[in-house]
């Protein structure tokens, strides 16, 4: 019986192709927006949460204030310097502190030029261990060649990304290759397993000294990373470091040009920004869905008017009110769901496009589209519901028509 109704509904939709398509546009734009937003937002959230900051709860970072567009530490408006690092090192409750440089560079290999980043490892053993831990590039992560040793000069290690996903005109890097970094040939001595942190995975990892020489940055510090004494109160340590730095940099409270954050806080900041962006976009999508719903309602309403006679015939040959109601509900629900299905496909295509073009043009794998099954299923159920709800009133009107009145034209 239900399958029969489904067939009848499909029949009348396909007979009015153009109108069905036009009606569905509202729905599928809305659903496409929702799907691409959620999948991309989810992807970014995943990237940030799982991969970006493996700082751990016992570490803090110091960075310059301002909106960062590149990796943390690559902001060049205000500089943190060697002396700031010394202040952090001397601060109460800090056991180890180090600076990390993350600098954009030009790489040439196989006659192909690419812009990417170089990340540094400090020479001091404790500091080096901390950075390696945070970056997730430990000795056992080396899959080919060897680990970068303190004292190596024109040597670097790179992630498996450069092997699996050749970035130089289809040519991958192997141990022993020399890549020109801002003109200076640097040898690849090791390959490390993908860390999952997109910035690390795309960076050339070199020692600090040669990078400072090559890029001519004697004192600049990128991101300051510090380990807090075990068992210490994080917020208190943050306050201490802030106070010391304010004094050293000679700024008043509330006017800091630097920011001390714990791993958790950093995450929260990202999440908040992302949350606001997502909320705004979801709002837009919701409006679009509402408009789509009204579109369906309008179409179904006209359909009821247009098909009075058909409704009259159905009633004359034995269709009860609830049969007519069901028929029209299925029809409008189907219209919604079909729109939703197309919307999902469009949304998936759009987010994939964003993912691919972001990866290609920005060189970041931070933007990853995710399509959990509940997003797909949810969108389908939702669009069917929107359609059915929008069709409820017109369908109810159709079912209430008196057969004689419906038959008269």
């Amino acid at each position: 019986m239900l399958s029969e109704y489904l067939r009848l509904a499909t029949r009348s939709l396909t007979r009015r192709k153009l109108r069905s398509w036009l009606t569905m546009i509202g729905i599928f734009i809305g659903i496409a927006a929702v799907v691409s937003l959620i999948s991309l937002g989810q992807g970014m959230q995943n990237a940030i949460t799982e991969q970006f900051f493996q700082l751990g709860a016992d570490k803090i970072t110091v960075a310059t204030k301002g909106v960062e567009t590149g990796p943390p530490g690559s902001n060049n408006d205000v500089l943190l310097q060697e002396s700031d690092l010394d202040v952090v090192r001397r601060a109460n409750g800090i056991t180890v502190a180090t600076g990390r440089l993350v600098e954009p560079i030009r790489a040439e290999f196989n006659d192909k030029e690419r812009f990417t980043y170089v990340a540094t490892l400090p020479d001091d053993m404790d500091e080096r261990t901390m950075v390696k831990e945070v970056a997730n590039v430990m000795d056992e992560d080396i899959v080919q060649g060897r680990m970068l040793k303190a004292g190596d000069t024109w040597k670097m290690i790179v992630s498996e990304d450069y092997v699996n996903d050749p970035k130089f005109d289809g040519k991958n890097l192997v141990v022993g290759n020399k890549v020109r970094v801002n003109g200076q040939p640097v040898e690849v001595v090791g390959i490390f397993a993908k860390t999952g942190n997109p910035f690390v995975d795309m960076s050339f990892v070199m020692n600090e000294e040669p990078v400072r020489n090559l890029l001519d940055i004697p004192v600049k510090q990128g991101l300051i990373l510090a380990q807090v004494e075990q068992g210490a109160d994080m917020s208190r340590i943050v306050e201490i470091v802030e106070k010391d730095l304010r004094k050293h940099r000679n700024v008043d409270k509330g006017e800091e040009d630097f920011e001390v954050q714990t791993g958790e806080e950093l995450l929260d900041t990202f999440r908040t920004v992302l949350g606001v962006v997502t909320a705004v976009l979801v709002g837009i999508a919701a409006i679009s869905l509402l408009v789509g719903g009204i579109g369906i309602m309008n179409t179904m309403y006209t359909a009821v008017l247009e098909r009075r006679k058909e409704i009259g015939i159905l009633k004359a040959i034995g269709a009860r009110n609830e049969d007519v109601l069901l028929l029209f509900l299925i029809e409008s629900g189907l219209l919604g769901m079909l729109g939703g299905a197309i919307g999902i496909l469009l949304g998936i295509a759009f987010s994939k496009l964003v993912e691919v073009s972001a990866t290609a043009s920005l060189g970041t794998t931070l933007i990853q589209a995710h399509f959990p099954w509940y997003l797909i299923l949810g969108s389908l159920v939702f669009s069917f519901t929107v359609g059915a709800l929008a069709g409820t009133y017109p369908a109810w009107q159709a079912s209430k028509l008196q057969p004689v009145e419906a038959l008269r034209q």
Partner: protein
């Protein structure tokens, strides 16, 4: 001869339409009985209330005043759903304007009433094919109404009316839109149905020649039965 049983009875039925200030009485105290197995024709000039009466008989409309009994039950006591169910089960309509559903093929049109009566898919197919052959349209099963001639469409409509084996066929000017030759063959078919299967038929017509085919004729004028012929 067995005693005739009354299937449908209209008792002092009024139908009044209010048009602004004016009241139009389409029916004014109509009394009519339809006996099981008879072929009744209702005649009358245009506007005399024939179609209105037919809609009452077929429970498509409810009287402004008076009662309609279907096999002894006052239809006012029935819910709309019950009424639709009964209509679907016991009454087959043939309309002047065919009233087929244009998005469906001939066969699907015939299968439609069976859907609402819960026939199985197989039963629907078998019955529809049987009926299409009966009305001589075996070759036209998958044609849409707009791909059929008027006579062919009316035959599809007849087949649809017969789909659920109704005890009564109501035909409102079944030949009104047909030329005399195709009209004649439609009439022959109805007569055959009446004779061979004993189906009760009520037919509306304003054409003396068509109406003559019936066993009994009622004459309607200004919403009332005026005199009996035959």
């Amino acid at each position: 001869m067995k005693k005739a049983k009354t299937i449908i009875k209209l008792k002092d039925v009024w139908k009044t339409y209010t048009m602004g200030e004016n009241q139009v009485h389409a029916l004014r105290g109509l009394d009519l009985e339809v006996q099981e197995g008879e072929f009744l024709s209702i005649m009358g000039p245009s506007g005399s209330g024939k179609s209105t009466a037919m809609n009452m008989i077929g429970c498509l409309d409810i009287p402004s005043k008076g009662q309609v009994y279907l096999e002894g039950t006052n239809i006012a006591d029935l819910s709309e759903s019950d009424l639709a169910q009964i209509r679907g089960q016991k009454i087959g309509f043939i309309f002047q304007k065919f009233n087929l559903i244009n998005t469906l093929t001939a066969k699907e049109n015939i299968m439609l009433p069976m859907i609402f009566q819960g026939y199985t898919e197989q039963e629907r197919h078998d019955q529809a094919e049987k009926l299409l052959k009966l009305v001589d349209l075996g070759e036209r099963m998958d044609h849409r109404p707009n791909e059929l001639s008027g006579g062919q469409q009316q035959r599809v409509a007849i087949a649809r009316a017969l789909a659920v084996d109704p005890s009564v066929i109501l035909a409102d000017e079944p030949t009104g839109n047909l030329d005399s030759k195709t009209g004649g063959s439609v009439m022959d078919f109805l007569k055959k149905l009446h004779k061979e299967k004993g189906t009760t038929i009520v037919m509306v017509s304003h054409d003396q020649h068509v109406a003559k085919h019936a066993d009994r004729m009622e004459f309607l004028r200004d919403g009332q039965i005026v005199k009996k012929i035959k």
